[in-house]
Symmetry: C2
Subunit: 241 residues, 2 copies
């Protein structure tokens, strides 16, 4: 590491790989652009007090029975009996203001679960990218961008966002030594940034969502800085920093 590189930043492409990348004293950024981490940013922007990320549908239902609002999504579809799926639009409005919401999703909440013991866990999406990058730089610590992927496989949209964060941080600070994952994704983002929707046209989850009529969600999730909040894990709760 050169003199100017005080800290490391790297990208882990799926939660399955997290044990390989796990290190002490590292801030982990959870990424699930389509759509869990986008939805979480929206909920806090609209005043949600706490989100309880849980791995299983059963746990989410347990909270629902206790009177909490609860969201549950599997394979891009909202599950019956819950208040929300993982569409950002589900979380826009007064109905989330001041509320605690339990949430389980196919990929995003699994990534939070995997990284639960990290030094700090925060939530990233295009919706909070600038405020997140500024905050990461100020922390002066190692950073790991943890992509949720799709069922533990690499996916394009999370990689694109990790590339956008890598690019932004490298422009604003020379304190970070980039791992190969970040380097590769910066190049990817360089090609995609002007037309991200078009860029994702052949990506697997984009195709999956388009089939389900979720194009509006896709466009919204790729729009930067509409929700300038930083969700952070405190014990079992996500709260607004």
């Amino acid at each position: 590491m050169s003199e100017t590189h005080k800290h490391k930043i790297d990208t882990c492409f799926t939660p399955y790989l997290y044990p390989v990348y796990k290190e002490e004293d590292t801030i982990v950024v959870i990424i699930d652009v389509f759509r869990a981490t986008s939805a979480i940013c929206v909920a806090f922007h609209y005043g949600a007090e706490r989100i309880i990320p849980v791995a299983t549908v059963e746990e989410a239902m347990e909270y629902k029975k206790q009177g909490f609002l609860a969201g549950a999504e599997r394979d891009a579809i909202k599950l019956d009996g819950f208040d929300f799926g993982n569409s950002p639009y589900d979380y826009m409005g007064d109905h989330v203001n001041g509320k605690t919401i339990a949430l389980t999703t196919t990929n995003g909440t699994q990534a939070i679960e995997a990284a639960r013991d990290a030094y700090k866990v925060v939530v990233g999406s295009f919706l909070n990218i600038d405020i997140l990058c500024d905050w990461l730089i100020k922390q002066e610590r190692n950073v790991l961008l943890l992509c949720s992927g799709w069922k533990n496989k690499f996916n394009m949209e999370d990689a694109l966002f990790a590339g956008a964060v890598s690019e932004k941080i490298s422009q604003l600070s020379d304190a970070f030594k980039m791992g190969d994952g970040c380097l590769a994704l910066m190049y990817l983002y360089g090609q995609a940034q002007h037309e991200p929707v078009k860029f994702l046209v052949h990506a697997s989850h984009k195709e999956r969502m388009a089939k389900l009529g979720l194009k509006k969600d896709i466009k919204f999730c790729l729009t930067p800085n509409s929700c300038p909040v930083i969700p952070v894990l405190q014990g079992k709760y996500l709260v607004k920093l």
Copy 2:
């Protein structure tokens, strides 16, 4: 999958992730550009009869004691007491002609070990890229590009080669549906192809090798089609197809 896409091709970024990508009836291409799979291609090009890839130094030493030639590398350095490291230059010449060679390396032979039960396991590097891609297309089966990475982390040079294969196959055939890994790496390769050495300048293993004075190896390993052979796993041996 559309009518024209009869088969799938995807990339698995490290052996650690292989269980997530593993599928029946899939041809697995082992990739360790710097330098195991490059060295293996060279050895067969120079007439080696068989290579025995083994996971541990102890196993390689056992073969050595039995009178076989044996190569062993850890952390880019040739181990004492062995005939070869993993430099391609070690395997050039008459001394490998007709010989059986045991080989263990930090990453490449671990990837072979992980994929041992696949339908078919072949070895890829820039040195055999064209003959390999032509052969893969003719097999009319699903393909998984398995990058060895660096100690189970993503690395740039293996990703670059996987991108080159994806690009080449997509140009020659419309029979393959690309997974997100291949799609992303095709973009990466698109940026790197004209100046791969320069492109890899900040990549972690390139830096590691440059420090060890291995620039000549780097350049050789990035030169396409100097060894038009396809090493394939048969039982415990790699042989020339």
